[in-house]
Structures are given as structure tokens and as C-alpha cells.
Subunit: 343 residues, 2 copies
Amino acid sequence: MGGDFGPTVVVPGCAIARERYPDSRFLFFGDEQLIRPVLDKHPDLAAVSEIEHTDVAVRMDDKPSQALRHGRRVSSMWLALEAVKAGRADLMVSAGNTGALMAMSKLCLRMVPGAERPALAAIWPNIRGEGIVLDVGATIGADAEQLVTFAVMGEAMARALFGIEKPTVGLLNIGVEEVKGLEYIRAAGQILRETSLPINYYGFVEGDDIGKGTVDVVVCEGFTGNIALKSTEGTAKQLAHFLRAGMRRGLLSRIGFLFAKGAFDTLREKMDPRKSNGGVFLGLNGMVIKSHGGTDPEGYAAAVSLGYHLSRNDLMNKIGAGLETFSKDRVSTEASPAEVVNS
Amino acid sequence: MGGDFGPTVVVPGCAIARERYPDSRFLFFGDEQLIRPVLDKHPDLAAVSEIEHTDVAVRMDDKPSQALRHGRRVSSMWLALEAVKAGRADLMVSAGNTGALMAMSKLCLRMVPGAERPALAAIWPNIRGEGIVLDVGATIGADAEQLVTFAVMGEAMARALFGIEKPTVGLLNIGVEEVKGLEYIRAAGQILRETSLPINYYGFVEGDDIGKGTVDVVVCEGFTGNIALKSTEGTAKQLAHFLRAGMRRGLLSRIGFLFAKGAFDTLREKMDPRKSNGGVFLGLNGMVIKSHGGTDPEGYAAAVSLGYHLSRNDLMNKIGAGLETFSKDRVSTEASPAEVVNS
């Protein structure tokens, strides 16, 4: 029911995803009267789908507390999460209210042992292909240990999504020297350097390393990540604006635009926000994918595809194993008197 | 002596600036044997310039503490700052070591009454033209009051630079609702809403508002601002990379590129990092402009031009007056029992 368009985008989006992954099956939670007519237009999808009706939907402008008050146990969002919790669904995709989704996810699914707070991981196109940046806004503020758990979860996601055996992980900071930047980031860097975790820790990275693709996984707390994400979106729109304005300016430019259309299409495809639609809430006992609320069916299909891939590649177990190793490593490190003297 | 190229960029840069502003005069601090030969190639500049020799230069990789140890009172950087302090120069431009420049500036010039910590203000091209973002990395962390002083200083700079009577000011946050984001930013927002300062406070802005040009002045603490600045630089480079790659791909695209060259030139000019070269350290008792270390003469001339404009438009007095008004406003607000009850 979520997003700007509800079932009219969600259902066609799932139809695209089903074509890509014929072994997928779908549970739709929400107002059957709205979902059924759209679903009927996609018989192949309808054949592998069930609708579970509920009158209650979280509104896009609900505060998380309001959403919990009127939506707990009864809203489409909550029921979809319960399906994940009960093992009836491998993952849940929502284009709905982000704050409400996070609050409900935490309450319904609870955190994985070893993760204190969820992180929202975004797929970020870069010069080398794609990277993962987390947290882009699930949790404001973090301490060193939390940042390291983000690194562990992001690394697991990169293995699951990109199929890389040893993804590189960097901590977002200002200045790349070890002595620079914020204290909790330096402390997280020290943990990552000294840990026996099988993490390919690169070191600090700066804002411009995100676009360069210097590392596979960029780790930061949610305020910083959200600022980076939104600033970047703004710049991409700004450049597109200047380019369009320049192209409209004269006859030669217009002609040139026609000739060079292929090049622009390449650019548009590379930077297509629909292709990288879908953030993943990491740290929960279950897979929750957040689609952009304003996306179209193609974009929604990308969010579903992301979930499909991560599920097929065993993200939840990879995260669980990574966090367990980290917890054990911390306990043994903290118990060692020599290490305490060093720190 | 600073930057990647020393006098070979600084002197020709000043020659360009002198042509633009024939009433400008120049003091060069550093190794006369290196400066003199370059200056001799620009007789018009040489006619309005003096060289003050010193053997000592701050190195680009000096830590601020090292720079102060070997460069205090004797380095070219320090001597240029002293010229500002003594009123012999209206402003100082350096392409040198940023950390050292900030440390030396604070020590030599001291802070303006009412400003606790310096902020580095950047000129940021946006869809509507240009805006100011501060702090982009002078100081890590800030409290509400410091953020408000940044707002006061940035607003003064926008008046001086853009000639706008009532520039709009926004606080960079995640989410634009009053209840969102970090506590110290919400507190700064409250001060700005309630203050009797003649500031046109817009409210919170998000990362993408920087590129949109939603407000004339975007205020944040230095870590956040630096992440936003660098992320944006990375995205701009990434888009240019994709576009170049697409253009090289086929004959049609190549032909199109030739036709559309004007449009690309427009884009390049709009986003030319040289044009917006020059950050201003605000909050000091004197004007200090930081040029990018890797810039060319055109870029260096932009940094000098920025300083010229700000000086001609009385930036220092505008900042002083703004901070004084704010201090008085705070004292009267804090002394009011009714306000104390409200807060």
C-alpha cells in the first residue's frame, strides 16, 4: 500500500520481477479491493501470488510513533513483517514511510545478536561499477563498535550481492591519515586494523572516494551517510540541468544532441536512480528492503530483484556469521591484559 | 610559496587579478630567488608588487604543530598573516597547507569577538547561480551557538559577495521537519527562529538543496560540510567520466560531441572548479583566503578576486557587526526569565 502510488506501482513492479525470477512467489498485504484489479491484469504474477487483506495502512506522513499506535499488528506493513518473522516470506519490500518501516521492523523482527542498531545500506553507482554505502539514514550517530558492526554487515552484503570473495571496506572520514577526523571513527579504524575478522579493511576514505569506487563498502553513521547521499543526488540533478540547458541553447547543440543520443543514454542508464533503487535495512532478524516511495514499476522491480539476489546468496546467514565472529573476537580481545595496556 | 607549484602559479595568478583590478597591490612573501624571476615576466604586476624575503616555508605535509614549531614568526605564511594583522595588507591568499594555515591564522590573527572557532566557507555553484556553504572543514563538531555564529558570518559573506540584501540561510540536516535530525542543529534552528537578528532564516535544508540552490547560505559543522563537498566532487567527476566514455564509444557520438561542443563548454564552465576556487576562513580578525593547492594561475586569480570583492564590500565589518548584534541578542534573551521558562 506504500509509496506515492500504492498497488499501481507495486504490483506491476512485482510482475517485472517475476518474469526475471520465475521461481519467485508473492504475498501482497493491503486492501484487496485495490490490489485485486491490478493483479488481475498480470495473470502470470497472479498465478504465484496471494493477497492478505487488511484495511489498515501506514500513511506516508505518519510519525513512527503514530504508525505503531494505529498500525501495530494490523497494518499491511506490520503483517508483511510478520510474514518474514514467521518464515512465510524470505523478505519484505516496502515503498512506504521509511521511519515507520524502521520502527516496525525493529519491533517486529528484533535485532540480530551482535547488532545494536539497524543501518540502511544503499547501492551506489561508481566509476568501477557499484558499491555499498551504509548507513544512509537509519540511525543518527554511532560509536566505534556500532560502526564496526556496520562494516561487518556491509561486507557480508557485498559478498552476497557482488559475489566478491574479499570486498574492500573503508571508513568515511575527512582526511585519510590515521590521526584525522572524528574520534569514534579513528577508534573504529583501530578495531578494524587489529581485529582477526576476515575483513579486507582499506582504511579511511573521503567523500570523493564514494564516486571513484575506491572501496566496495563505505561505512559511516546515518547522518553523514544521508548528507552524502542527498548532496550527491543534488549534484547529479544539477549537472543534468546544466547539460539540458546547454543542449537547448543553439541549433548546433541540438543537432549534436541527436547524434550523441547514444552517449546520453549510456549516461542516463549508468546513473538511473531506478536501477539502484532499494535500500536494505541491515541488522534485523529478517530481510527488509526499502524502495523509494516515488519510483515506477521498473524501480520497484529493482528493489525486489535486490532482495531476491540477497536472499538467494544467503545474506542473513552471512551477516549472522560475521557478527558472531566479531563478538567472539571482541570478547577475546577485551579479555587480554596486553591489549588493554596497548589501547 | 604554497601549493603544488609555488610562485610559478601564484605570481601569474596575481598578474591576472591585477589586470582585473588595476587598483590592487601585492606583497609576496617567500624566497626572493624563486619569486623574482617569475615576477620579472609580469612587469605590470611587478610595478605594484613588493617581495619580502624569507627562507622558511611551511611544507605541504607539515602537521599544524610542526608548522608552528618551525614556521612561527619566520615562515612566508606567518609573515603574510602578520601583514594583515598590521594593516599592511587587506587580505592574505595562500595555496599552502590548510591545517597549518588555519592554526597559524588563529594564533596570529585571533578570533573576532563573538566567534569561538573559524569556519571555512566555500562558494558552491548551484542551479540558481552560486551559494555559500560553511563550514566545509575548518572545525570538526559544533554546538548550537557556534552553528548560529556560522550562520551570522555566512549571511554577512553572502551580502558582501552576492550583493543580496537579505540572503536566505538554511541549516543542513536530514529531514526538513523541525523535530528531525541532530539535537544541536534543532537547537540552532530554534535560536535562529527566535532571534531578533535581521537574518532571513529559511529552516532546515537537506543535502540535495545545496545543488538546487534552495538557500543562499547552507550552514553545517565542518565534518558534515567536508563530506558533502567531497562527495559532490566525486559525483561530478564520475558523471564527467561516464559522459566522456559514452562520447568515445561510437562514430555518431563523436560527431555529436563536435556539434554539441558549445553545450559541453557551458557545462564545463558552470562546473569549473577554478571559478569557485577560494575558501574563506571566517571568524578571524583578518581576511584569509585558502586557494586549492593544485590550482592553476586562472584558479589562483579567482581566489584573489574573491578576496578583492569581499574586501571592497567590507566583509570584516559586516561580520563584526553581525556577531556583535547576535551577542547582545543572546545576552538579553538569556537574561529574560520568561524566555528561560520557555526554553
